[in-house]
C-alpha cells in the first residue's frame, strides 16, 4: 500500500485530495498558523489497541502545547472524561461536523468560528465522510487528519503509517509544539 492511498480500498475521493504531511514539523507549522483551532477526538483514540499506546498522551500534549481545545465525539467522551481530560465539549460526531460546516457557529466557547479542525480517532469511514462534508461545505475551514491512515478528503493528512511510526510522529509533533 502506498502512503497516499485511502486505507479502505474503494474509498476513491475525486480530483481534490489531501496533501500529505511529510513530517511533524509541517503539521506543527499548520497548527501554529491557526488562530482558532479545534481538535476532534473520536472513540478509537480511547479504545484498544490505541489506548494501550501513548497516543492519547501525545494528543493531550499536542492539544495543550498548541493551544488547541479538545472536543470529544460521543464515542470518545466517556474515555476522555474518565481520564480527566479537560474538554471544550462533547457531542456526536455528526453534530460537531454539522456545526463546523457552519461559518456562523460560535464554537464550544462562544468566541467565534474555528479556522482549523484536527481529526483523530474516528472510525475511518465516518471520518472520511465528515471530512468530505467539510471539504465541500465548510468555507474557510482547514482540516487536518492525524490518524495513521491517509484521509483524502482532509486538506492535510498523515500518510499511511505503521503503528509505531505513527506514535513517534505524534510524539514529535507534540515536542515541536512544546518547543515553541
Amino acid at each position: 500500500m502506498r502512503q497516499f492511498e485511502p486505507w479502505q480500498i474503494a474509498e476513491i475521493p475525486g480530483p481534490k485530495k489531501a496533501l500529505i504531511i511529510p513530517k511533524p514539523g509541517v503539521a506543527a507549522a499548520l497548527l501554529k498558523r491557526s488562530g482558532r483551532p479545534l481538535m476532534v477526538v473520536g472513540g478509537e483514540a480511547v479504545e484498544e489497541p490505541t489506548a494501550d499506546k501513548p497516543v492519547l498522551e501525545h494528543l493531550i500534549r499536542i492539544s495543550t502545547a498548541g493551544g488547541i481545545p479538545m472536543a470529544a465525539t460521543m464515542g470518545a467522551a466517556r474515555g476522555l472524561i474518565e481520564r480527566g481530560v479537560r474538554l471544550a465539549g462533547y457531542m456526536s460526531a455528526m453534530e460537531i461536523a454539522e456545526r463546523l460546516r457552519d461559518g456562523s457557529w460560535k464554537g464550544f466557547d462562544g468566541a467565534g468560528p474555528y479556522d482549523l479542525a484536527v481529526f483523530v480517532g474516528l472510525p475511518y469511514y465516518i471520518e472520511w465522510l465528515i471530512l468530505s462534508g467539510l471539504k465541500h461545505f465548510a468555507k474557510g475551514l482547514i482540516t487536518i487528519s492525524l490518524d495513521r491512515f491517509y484521509q483524502p478528503h482532509a486538506n492535510w493528512s498523515l500518510p499511511n503509517t505503521p503503528r509505531d511510526e505513527w506514535v513517534e510522529t505524534l510524539k514529535a509533533l507534540a515536542e515541536a509544539l512544546e518547543g515553541g
Binding site: 480500498i9 472513540g43 455528526m94 454539522e98 465516518i126 465522510l129 471539504k135 465541500h136 461545505f137
Partner: protein
C-alpha cells in the same frame, strides 16, 4: 380529488374474439359511504405536501457528506462539483447529493411497490379481487391507516388495493423523472421529494402486508403469535433441506403447501433467510428461520441446503455461484432476479426436476409459485441423497495450510467494511490457533469482500465459518412470528400514556444486518428499553438479530417479554413490509386515541405525531435503498431515525441545532402564541458512532413538546440515568428539556436545579403544540 370508474365484464364476444373476466379501471373511486369528511390532500401529488416538508427542513437541516467529488450521470460529465463548483448542467453539490438520496429512495420505494404489485396480482388471481381485507378481525377497525391517511379511501377488498398501487407507481415515475438532468436543482425540493418517496414506500408496504395477512392467513394483529425456531443449529441435517431467500412469500408458501399435501412436513426441512423467512414463519410456524441477510454465505457454504429457492430483494447477486459450489440446484422465481437461468415455467414439473437432479443445469427460472412448490420438494427429495451435504468449507488442516499462505498484505482488512483485523487472525491460525478467526465472525457482516481482495485467493470467510463451527452448531433460539398490525384496543390502552409521556417511548428496531459490531448490540439495546418499560417493536433482520442471544436464564428476548404493544412489551411486527404497521400505530394514536380526522389529512396527523408521539426508529444495520425509503417515510411523519455508524454512508443527515432557540418554537394552538418548546425531538436522522451513543440518543429523541410534566420527568429520568451510566456524568443539555420545575425528576431535583441556575434557565409553558397555523383555535386580532 381523483375520480374514476371500474367496469367488470364476465364475458364479452366481439369480432376479435371472446374476452372473459375483463376488468377495466380508470382513475379512482372516492368512496362516498365513508362518513368521515375528506381531508385536504387525497392522493397528494409531489407538491401537495411540500409546505409541510419545508417546515420540517427549516428545523432539521441536511448535512451532506458526499461519497465523491463528482457527478457522472450524463455524458457532459464527469463533472467536478468540489466546493462551489457546478456541473455542466448547472447542478451544485448539495443538489447532487440530495438527488442521489432521492434516487436511493425511489429505488427502495419501487422495490416495495413492485413486491406489493406482484404479490397482489398473485393473490387476486388466486382468491379474486373481491376477497375481503381482514388484518385483525374485530380488533382492528382501522385496517389501513396509511392508505386512509394518504389516499383518503377505506379499502375493503384486495381489488381496492390496486388503485393505491396505481397511484404509488405513477408518483414514483414522477419522482424518478425529477432526477433527470435538467430537472430539479434545489436541494430543498429534492429533500421534499425524498419525503414523498418515503410516504409512497409506506403505502406500498402497507398494501403488501395487509394483502398477505388477509389472503394467506398470517397472524392478524396477534399480540402473542407462536414462537418459531431461529438459528443455524436448528436444522436436522439428516433430512432434505429447502432454503428460501429473499422477500416475497408465495413460492415459499406453495412449497409448504405442497409438503403438507404430500404429508412431507416432517420429512423435509423448509427454512429461510431474510424477510421471506419471516413471512413464511407467519404463514406456517413449522417453517424455520436461519437468520438475517448476512447469514447467506455461512449457511449455503455449510452444505446443508439441498435446494435453494430465491424470490426477490436482498439476495446475494452471486447466489448461483455459491449454490454451484455445494452442488445445490437454484430455483429463481421472480422476473426481477432471473440469475441468467433458463425459463422452465411452462415445462412439466417432473422434467424440470429430472434436469436439476441430473445436473443438466445449475438452476431454473420458474415464474409460477405453485409449480415452484412441486419442483422444489421433488428436487430436494432426489438431490439430497446424491449431494450428501457437500459443503464448501475447508477442514482444519486445509485451513491451517491456507493461513500459512497469507502474505499479510492487509488487502483483506482494507476491503472489510468493519476493518476486521484478519491478518492477525490468519497469523494465529497459521500456528494452529483458530480462536482469532472464530471471533471475527461475531462482527462479520458476511459480505465476502475479504476473499475477493485476497491475492492468494484464500476463502477467508469460509475459514471463519470453520473456526466458529462449534458455536454455529449451537445457534438455537426462539423468535415470535411476526404479529402484523397493532390492535385498535392496544392503541386505546397506550395512546394516552404515550401522548402524555408516561410511557416513555415507542422504539422500533428495524432494518438490515450491516452492524458495526455484530447483532448483539441490537439485542442489548432492545433489552435495555424493554426493561425500562418502553414499547419495543422490531421488524426484518433486526427482529431476527434480537432473537439470537440469550440471557442468563437461557431465554431470548421474545421469551423474556410479552409480545403486546404495551409498556415493556417486545413485538416482532414481521418482515420489512410490516414496518407499515409501526407507522400505522403512530397514525392510529392520532386517529383512534386523539380522534383527529384521518382521511386524507396528512399534514395534521404528521404534525400531531411530531409534537406528541414519542417514537424513534433505530436502524442499526441499515444497508439498503429500501431502508432509506422506509426511514424517509418516517421522517415525513415526524418520527426520528437513528442509524448505526455505517448509516453515515447514506451521505446525508437531518440535524436540528439545539442551541438555535428560534427553530424550536411552535404555535400554541390554544392562543396562537409562538412558544419555545426546547429541542424535542432534536434530530430527524443521524448516525451514532457507538451503541452507547445510540441508547442515550434514543431516550432523548423520545421527548416531545406535548409531554406532561409527569411524562417529561419520566423521560428525563431515563435520559439522565442512561447518560450517567454510559458516560459517567450528567448530560450537559438537561436544562433545555426542563420547561417547568415540575418536569424535574424528583430523585435528582436538587442536582438539576443547581444546573438550571448555572445555565440561567427560565421557565416556559407547556403548550398545545403545532407547526400549522390553521390549527390555532383562537386567532389573534
Amino acid at each position: 380529488m381523483r375520480e374514476g370508474i371500474r367496469v367488470k365484464v364476465g364475458e364479452l364476444k366481439s369480432q376479435i374474439g371472446i374476452l372473459k373476466d375483463l376488468e377495466v379501471s380508470i382513475g379512482e373511486i372516492i368512496e362516498e359511504k365513508w362518513e368521515e369528511a375528506l381531508g385536504p390532500t387525497p392522493f397528494p401529488s409531489i407538491a401537495d405536501l411540500r409546505s409541510w416538508d419545508l417546515k420540517i427542513l427549516e428545523r432539521y437541516k441536511p448535512f451532506y457528506m458526499p461519497f465523491c467529488d463528482l457527478c457522472c450521470l450524463c455524458t457532459m460529465g464527469k463533472c467536478d462539483l468540489t466546493g462551489d463548483k457546478r456541473g455542466a448542467c448547472g447542478i451544485d453539490m448539495a443538489g447532487q447529493q440530495s438527488r442521489i438520496v432521492l434516487l436511493a429512495c425511489c429505488i427502495g420505494a419501487a422495490t416495495h411497490t413492485s413486491h406489493a404489485r406482484h404479490l397482489l396480482e398473485h393473490l387476486i388471481s388466486k382468491y379474486g379481487s373481491g376477497y375481503p381485507l381482514d388484518v385483525g378481525g374485530l380488533s382492528v377497525e382501522v385496517e389501513a391507516p396509511i392508505t386512509r391517511l394518504v389516499c383518503g379511501i377505506r379499502p375493503e377488498t384486495l381489488g381496492d388495493l390496486e388503485g393505491v398501487l396505481d397511484y404509488v407507481e405513477e408518483q414514483i415515475v414522477h419522482l424518478l423523472s425529477a432526477t433527470h438532468t435538467g430537472q430539479e436543482g434545489s436541494y430543498k425540493d429534492f429533500e421534499s421529494k425524498i419525503f414523498h418517496a418515503g410516504m409512497l414506500d409506506h403505502l406500498a408496504m402497507e398494501v403488501a402486508d395487509i394483502a398477505q395477512i388477509s389472503a394467506l392467513g398470517l397472524p392478524k394483529a396477534e399480540p402473542n403469535p407462536p414462537l418459531v425456531e431461529i438459528g443455524l443449529g436448528i436444522i436436522d441435517h439428516a433430512k432434505p433441506v429447502i432454503l428460501v431467500i429473499g422477500h416475497n412469500v408465495p413460492p415459499a408458501a406453495d412449497i409448504m403447501d405442497y409438503m403438507e399435501e404430500l404429508g412431507l412436513q416432517d420429512a423435509i426441512e423448509l427454512c429461510g433467510i431474510c424477510c421471506t423467512a419471516h413471512d413464511l414463519a407467519r404463514y406456517n410456524p413449522k417453517a424455520k428461520i436461519i437468520g438475517p441477510i448476512s447469514w447467506q454465505l455461512r449457511f449455503i457454504r455449510s452444505g446443508v441446503p439441498d435446494v435453494i429457492v430465491i424470490d426477490e430483494q436482498c439476495i446475494r447477486s452471486d447466489v448461483l455461484i455459491e449454490a454451484m459450489k455445494i452442488k445445490a440446484p437454484l430455483i429463481a422465481t421472480s422476473e426481477k432476479d432471473c440469475q441468467g437461468l433458463p425459463d422452465r415455467t411452462r415445462d412439466p414439473p417432473d422434467e424440470i426436476v429430472k434436469g436439476l437432479v441430473e445436473g443438466d443445469t445449475p438452476g431454473v427460472l420458474i415464474l409460477d409459485p405453485g409449480k415452484v412448490g412441486e419442483v422444489a420438494v421433488k428436487a430436494a427429495l432426489k438431490v439430497a441423497p446424491k449431494r450428501m451435504k457437500f459443503k464448501a468449507i475447508p477442514d482444519v488442516e486445509e485451513l491451517i495450510e491456507g493461513a500459512k499462505k497469507c502474505r499479510r498484505c492487509d488487502d483483506c482488512r482494507r476491503s472489510c467494511p468493519n476493518d476486521l483485523d484478519i491478518p492477525s487472525a490468519m497469523a494465529r491460525a497459521a500456528g494452529g490457533d483458530l480462536e482469532g478467526l472464530a471471533r471475527l465472525l461475531d462482527h462479520c457482516i458476511g459480505c465476502g469482500r475479504c476473499e475477493r481482495a485476497c491475492p492468494a485467493e484464500l476463502p477467508i470467510h469460509s475459514f471463519m465459518i470453520k473456526a466458529a463451527e462449534k458455536e454455529i452448531k449451537e445457534e438455537r433460539y426462539k423468535i415470535r412470528a411476526g404479529r402484523g398490525a397493532v390492535q385498535d384496543v392496544e392503541i386505546r390502552n397506550v395512546g394516552s400514556p404515550i401522548v402524555l409521556g408516561e410511557i416513555p417511548g415507542v422504539i422500533a428496531f428495524v432494518g438490515c444486518a450491516n452492524y458495526p459490531r455484530g447483532g448483539v448490540e441490537v439485542a442489548e439495546m432492545a433489552d435495555e428499553f424493554a426493561m425500562r418499560r418502553y414499547i419495543v417493536t422490531a421488524t426484518g433482520c433486526a427482529a431476527m438479530s434480537m432473537a439470537m442471544y440469550k440471557d442468563k436464564e437461557g431465554k431470548t428476548i421474545y421469551e423474556k417479554y410479552p409480545g403486546s404493544f404495551d409498556a415493556g412489551g417486545v413485538s416482532n411486527i414481521g418482515s420489512c413490509i410490516s414496518n407499515a404497521h409501526i407507522a400505522g400505530a403512530a397514525i392510529k394514536i392520532a386517529s383512534i386515541f386523539a380522534k383527529r380526522r384521518l382521511r386524507a389529512n396528512y399534514e395534521e396527523i404528521a404534525d400531531y405525531i411530531l409534537n406528541r408521539v414519542g417514537a424513534v426508529g433505530v436502524a442499526w444495520g441499515a444497508m439498503s435503498q429500501k431502508a432509506a425509503s422506509i426511514a424517509s417515510g418516517f421522517w415525513r411523519l415526524g418520527i426520528p431515525v437513528i442509524v448505526g455508524p455505517h448509516g453515515s454512508k447514506y451521505r446525508r443527515m437531518l440535524l436540528g441545532r439545539k442551541e438555535d432557540e428560534e427553530s424550536w418554537k411552535v404555535y400554541d394552538a390554544r392562543t396562537g402564541e409562538k412558544v419555545y418548546v426546547g429541542p424535542a425531538p432534536e434530530h430527524l436522522f443521524y448516525a451514532a458512532e457507538t451503541k452507547e451513543e445510540a441508547m442515550v440518543s434514543i431516550a432523548k429523541l423520545c421527548m416531545r413538546p406535548n409531554d406532561t410534566p409527569k411524562g417529561r420527568a419520566i423521560k428525563l429520568t431515563h435520559y439522565i440515568d442512561l447518560h450517567r451510566r454510559l458516560y459517567g456524568v450528567m448530560p450537559d443539555d438537561v436544562y433545555l428539556y426542563v420547561r417547568t420545575k415540575a418536569d424535574i425528576p424528583i430523585t435528582i431535583k436538587d442536582e438539576v436545579l443547581q444546573l438550571l441556575e448555572e445555565k440561567g434557565w427560565r421557565e416556559t409553558v407547556v403548550p398545545d403544540p403545532t407547526l400549522l397555523p390553521r390549527l390555532i383555535r383562537v386567532q389573534k386580532g
